[in-house]
Homo-oligomer: 84 residues x 4
């Protein structure tokens, strides 16, 4: 069963919330997102509380607007969650 | 040179903000905090934006109050940052 | 589709090899195993090369023999891989 | 006090062994190395046993020889350990 989460366009950026069974699963996901962000050299604003991970993507270097960098990272993160 | 950060008692819980030179250093710190939290089975509310990590500690199982579990984890996190 | 890997009893300890699609997936798995090992306070001997993770479990404190601690961690790791 | 470790040229590649106070410190270091490897898209062969991390760097795509990619990653890893 696939788990689908899509980022939404908000005033803060592209935002999404991801749910997991526990902290370990949430942390495994975050560890993959961290690698991806470092590879792209584009890092999220994100928070975690036990089994929940909230991510906001925005490009500061472009006047705090949503750019193609945010969409690229968003798609990769959605794909990682789907397979998680 | 030691880096000292102390958690503060707030209405939300024990809170602190930690600064690093870049995302990699922030993530290395978070990876150690994650292990510690899992060992204690007491997990933080926390957020990260590039080189900054904000942590809030509170005990939901005790009516969302600050308990000895929060103080124990806070001290261990302060120690990890000092040596980071 | 479940992915089944079982640890084998060898002269070195309980050993198993886990395959992933890439480094990111291997690292996400390792990040969950690390949390689990720290929680149990029983740590693996393990190696990684891109998409492959090899794990050996043995108890040094018991004369370098296989103990229930190794079996406990092995079962938890097998479960994490199955769901990965 | 700086901690200096230098990679050695061996028949297997560039190799080095890093010592830490415990598993948590070793894992924090590995988490930073993983980010760096993913950013460079050049990944180590490495193993961990509690507080020890052994790393071997070699380039498979260049006939399993040592290339500038290995030297680049080696220098970055030495720097991370020095500051750890």
């Amino acid at each position: 069963m696939d788990k689908l989460v899509h980022f939404n366009v908000t005033e803060q950026g592209l935002t999404a919330e991801f749910q997991f069974s526990d902290f370990s699963e949430a942390w495994g996901f975050m560890s993959k997102v961290a690698l991806c962000a470092e590879r792209l050299q584009h890092h999220p604003e994100w928070s975690n509380s036990y089994n929940v991970v909230r991510i906001n993507l925005i490009t500061y270097e472009a006047g705090t607007t949503i750019t193609h960098k945010d969409y690229e990272l968003a798609l990769l993160i959605e794909g990682m969650y789907k397979e998680a």
